[in-house]
Symmetry: C2
Subunit: 211 residues, 2 copies
């Protein structure tokens, strides 16, 4: 079903777009998305791990999750990915801003039922967050796979929005004796913490050092 | 109006809570929240700057924003703050997880109309993101204040959810010769970038170096 979402941007239309490659790049850089849905007229927004497989955004959860059940039965959802890239300091509060990349994907998710497609999708989720990890760990058991719901949301109806660069402000402000510019922000990985019960002699995986 | 949101946690209720101080700590550490709302049966999730002032979550936007207009007229919203604190690697994909702190605040926002309350709220937003900044920049003009909508969402109906610590997995997996532990993640500020038109001799503000 094609979503009837209004993807026109009322504010700052110059920051928006509907380019598929741009949407994919934003999604591929994300660990989590925020999934919005409505139950009994109340909106909910839940953070969830996400990954992209080809032209779909993958979401997973427990088979007993209400969201997973409702979403697999056609509940309209909106999955938003946001990267906050910087604080933009103009010489005034009003013209200060943020640099960011975001994408909102609208639609209804497809329940992935085929066992091999489901296993492939769950592997994609793991390897997206932890490159190469599925080759290191034991395969999931049938019981584990059965306990997991995998949903695929088509990346068909979406809006990207982003801001980059220095502050944009009226020339009247530029002479104010106040610092202006951008404070870049990024998500950084710290030194890995071994599990307390990690057996001796097992090093942190080489492939994950890129994180 | 008190929200009718269902704040029971179906999954991992041991991770959840309704403690106000905990909710405030999560909000106070955030730059952005994700605001969910429903228009014409379609859910939307939009990233927005946020701050807390006493017992309310502050949101601001343009007076011409449709969300701002609808939200100021009683549209139910859900504002979710999420901090992704780490990737949790169990010896299996199934038991791998994420460490995070999140809060969902449900309700309807109040339009802040009193001029001095509005100015104070907007200052709180700026100083939350950029400590001490309002003392450095010129005051907003009346035109700028009139162009901005400030909403205050009571932090009354909310759910916190968090996970901390090492992987939690069955003892049968613990002998697998695979690394297990946590990769911490955090948002870090990079070196500030001067605006191209920054006048010579204006240093980066001392107070912002704490970022």
């Amino acid at each position: 079903m094609t979503s009837q979402a209004n993807t026109r941007l009322g504010r700052h239309p110059e920051r928006g777009g509907q380019d598929f490659e741009t949407a994919c790049a934003i999604i591929d850089a994300a660990h989590v998305c925020h999934v919005g849905f409505t139950l009994d007229a109340q909106p909910y927004v839940i953070p969830m791990a996400c990954a992209r497989l080809e032209q779909e955004l993958l979401l997973h959860g427990s088979v007993v999750s209400r969201l997973m059940k409702e979403a697999s039965q056609g509940l309209p959802i909106c999955a938003t990915v946001t990267h906050l890239d910087g604080l933009v300091l103009a010489r005034s509060a009003f013209h200060s801003s943020m640099n960011y990349r975001s994408v909102m994907v609208f639609g209804t998710a497809r329940l992935v039922t085929d066992a091999s497609e489901k296993a492939r999708g769950l592997d994609a989720l793991v390897d997206h967050l932890l490159p190469g990890r599925t080759a290191e760990v034991r395969p999931s058991t049938r019981k584990e796979l059965n306990a997991t719901t995998l949903l695929a949301l088509p990346i068909e109806v979406f809006t990207t929005k982003m801001r980059t660069g220095p502050p944009d402000e009226p020339s009247a402000d530029v002479d104010d004796p106040v610092w202006a510019g951008v404070i870049p922000l990024s998500v950084e990985a710290g030194a890995p913490l071994d599990a307390p019960n990690l057996a001796a002699g097992i090093p942190f995986p080489e492939r994950l050092k890129a994180l």
